[in-house]
Symmetry: C2
């Protein structure tokens, strides 16, 4: 069953800063290249009911593909070298079609 | 600019209960019929990193269409008569394409 993996987050960087742009660009380039990832998108979160500001979204064919992505060295390295220091706050959600 | 309005939530009802099914069915029927709503979907949230369990998602052509939905009597009535008593916990997010 296809699965949408999402994370909604706020960066430690100022809005509109070069550091923000670099994080988003690098995130897209590095994460979208990992095998199994399809339809990688970056969108802005604009509801005032949440203070999280960005969303990474990607689709996987199944849970096994999602797990392979999570364990992939490029993902592990991005989380350790970039996410851990540049993201101030985040929340993950994974969605599947209603059975 | 097209906007995706989402709410991730947990019901007060037991998983698999008739009350859960009725809430989801009525939510789909009532909310998807409100003018301006397109691509209404209900999906399950399956990440163990969140305790929210369902997602309603819908698209609007622009912010004005979203605001008209929020103010529509059928939406206001659904929130007051069903959402307020049957939803235990929720979080809204609205997404737009990265500029």
């Amino acid at each position: 069953m296809a699965l949408q993996h999402t994370v909604v987050f706020t960066l430690a960087h100022a809005a509109g800063s070069p550091e923000e742009a670099a994080f988003l660009d690098d995130g897209r380039r590095i994460l979208s290249a990992i095998p199994g990832v399809t339809d990688f998108t970056i969108r802005e979160q604009v509801s005032p009911k949440s203070d999280l500001r960005w969303q990474f979204s990607m689709w996987f064919e199944d849970l096994a593909a999602h797990e392979a992505y999570t364990a992939h060295p490029d993902h592990v390295d991005f989380v350790a070298s970039r996410w851990a220091t540049e993201v101030a706050k985040f929340q993950e959600y994974d969605f599947v079609d209603q059975p």
